[in-house]
Symmetry: C2
Subunit: 408 residues, 2 copies
């Protein structure tokens, strides 16, 4: 008996039409009316599968399949989010939620008797497009952020999260973290190019990168581009370029999954014939290995000191974010690999470069993730795409994994 | 008999007070009312020295000292400009004009009998702060730009140059280039740090850098900073940083007076966790040696091609400006050096990194320049400063040089 992939695709497409703005951009920003409409739709699908739907105090929706005899057991949880960024694609998050529902419905239709409750959860405000921090619903759920602090969060539109939660009718009565969990599995599109480039269908995600965001400001001297000899400059822009190329070389030489990105950069005074007096830029450093991330941070500091001396510039650095890597549960990762292989799908272990609710859930129970390919690695964009075949493969792996976890 | 340095300083300070805006910034932008007020003041000083003042059709003012017996001879010309940028210093340009006047008055007061007319000229719109191109008055004067085209120039405030020239009363009757010239000497502040750093008082300017301005656009792919491995990126920002450091190294290794500046840079989308899809930046390359400038341009093109391949990015380049170097007259440069040495002043040959009216005048007669130190190399800024002692030294060298040229 095969997965009803058409039902899943139909639901993805239906949900993808909900919350379009006047320019037809998908914009189900957390706790807006668009988000409410999306929640209402999925809620209705949960109801049609006769699931026991419970909403907690941060607005996470938990759809529980729990035959009477197993209600006391620790649950097998699946989940993700259905809020989106502005001008989003239709797969990010939504796929994990609707695939979880599909898995439960398929098991119901097969007459499967689970030994534990099986749950699919929708976590509030994963994207952080309106309220900071992102992954907030799962963070609050696992106790990483106090509920009351989260409810008081002021959005970038001035709104208060708790008020908006009440307004859209998704402020629930259940305490956060109320479901005793045996395991959490999140199925997600990769949002990166690795699986497609390597021609592999399934990623068994074994860890999630730690992140270090620094803002670096280099102050030199604005000088005339014609009258100032090279040896008499304090060129903030050139110092910045040296930091960029050095850190790129360093990261490439680590032969790790470490990555570094210099995404944001501004010169002052930004005039063609004036040596830059200031370069203000960001570095995004990520590694699944905390030790290597710390080493890279130390290398950066050492090099900035060297550059400050060699280029006669002043350098300041401000940490904007720092998250330790997350290691997922090895048994679950192996189970996912095994499930994929039994289904004769190509599979590899990989690192998640993006943040996911699974990293929060990993704090309270064994957790892991399943990735399927993203065409060209594109996400957070209407061109986000995963083929029906790959979507199907992902659900099959999830199904097999959940079934295995729920049968004893 | 020594130069009347106090008269020169008083005039510099008086002129420096004319054309202040509401924020007390010096802003004698070409052909504004402020420029008119400055011209009126200097005109009056010219009159008080009983000079024959002639205004040409592009508004250049020529103050001529021409005893009757020498009127048919080729003139010795001095000059510079009195228009300024916004928030300017008081020395740039003004010093050359007022020192020229001081030299003539001193020679008059000494009872010197010149064998040729001696002229000090004020050239229109040297700065180009309102009308492009800069150095326009001298460019038109030497026939490098047609008068009618210049008069039709539309300013960045929408005004027409010819209308403004009429409005402020400085549209003259004399044809441009009407003075037969034997030589042109321009005294100017260095606007760079070399003389001060080298502890030398006088620069005998032997040439003026050729300039190449290119705008370079590198197109890569915007990718997620976490999910995209280093090997799968087309990082436009990193390609840009490599071009910057490579060209800097190349220029430093030429052991020439070549300089390069990357002054303007913009990333797209300029987001901390997105690999830049585009880097748009400028390169300013300068050398007094046309051959070396051409070599550097070729090296740049070759390297861009290499980078395009290595980084899998597309690179476009647009030339924004290209001026060949100017070589000044060797006899005049040697005469300046000799004058400085006879005055027991330290002197060195140097290259002008900025543009000056002298480079235009060099097209119609032997020309050269004299530089004096700029504190910290600062110019186009209220902090522009040259000590009275250095100002005095410059006028003395100019006087000695002009006297020598005018005595046979």
């Amino acid at each position: 008996m095969t997965i009803n992939i058409q039902r899943l695709l139909n639901r993805l497409n239906t949900l993808g039409k909900i919350g379009r703005d006047s320019q037809d951009r998908l914009a189900r920003i957390a706790l807006t009316h668009a988000d409410k409409e999306g929640r209402d739709q999925v809620y209705q699908w949960f109801e049609s599968a006769e699931l026991d739907i419970k909403i907690d105090k941060i607005g996470n929706i938990h759809a529980i399949w729990s035959p009477e005899s197993v209600q006391e057991e620790e649950a097998i949880m699946m989940g993700s989010h259905i809020d989106t960024v502005l001008n989003a694609g239709i797969y990010d998050g939504n796929y994990g939620v609707l695939a979880g529902l599909e898995v439960i419905q398929h098991l119901q239709e097969m007459g499967f008797q689970p030994k534990r409750p099986i749950v699919v959860s929708i976590f509030t405000n994963e994207e952080g497009a309106r309220y900071t921090p992102d992954m907030m619903g799962s963070l609050v759920y696992v106790g990483g952020l106090a509920l009351n602090d989260a409810l008081k969060t002021r959005g970038n539109d001035g709104s208060i999260l708790g008020d908006e939660l009440e307004r859209i009718g998704y402020s629930g009565d259940h305490e956060v973290g109320f479901i005793p969990a045996k395991a959490y599995i999140e199925l997600h599109i990769e949002q990166g190019p690795v699986l497609e480039k390597e021609n592999i269908t399934v990623g068994a995600v074994e860890n999630l990168q730690g992140i270090c965001w620094q803002q670096i400001t280099i102050n030199g001297t604005a000088n005339h581009a014609g009258t100032t000899p090279m040896s008499m400059r304090n060129d903030a822009g050139m110092a910045c370029a040296r930091v960029m190329t050095y850190m790129r070389d360093y990261v490439e030489q680590t032969c790790d999954r470490m990555v570094t990105t210099f995404g944001k950069l501004k010169f002052e005074p930004d005039i063609i014939n004036v040596v830059p007096s200031q370069a203000c830029f960001t570095i995004d450093l990520r590694s699944p290995d905390e030790l290597k991330l710390k080493q890279a941070e130390a290398v950066l500091v050492d090099y900035l000191n060297l550059i400050a001396e060699e280029e006669s510039v002043e350098i300041g650095m401000t940490q904007m974010a720092r998250l330790e890597p997350v290691t997922f549960d090895l048994d679950l990762v192996q189970l996912i690999e095994k499930s994929a292989k039994e289904l004769e799908l190509t599979v590899c272990r990989m690192t998640s470069g993006a943040g996911h609710d699974a990293q929060m859930m990993a704090r309270i129970c064994p957790a892991a993730m399943i990735f399927v390919p993203s065409a060209k690695g594109i996400s957070h964009n209407p061109r986000e795409y995963t083929s029906a075949e790959d979507l199907n493969a992902g659900v099959k792996v999830l199904l097999r994994t959940i079934k295995q976890l729920a049968c004893h």
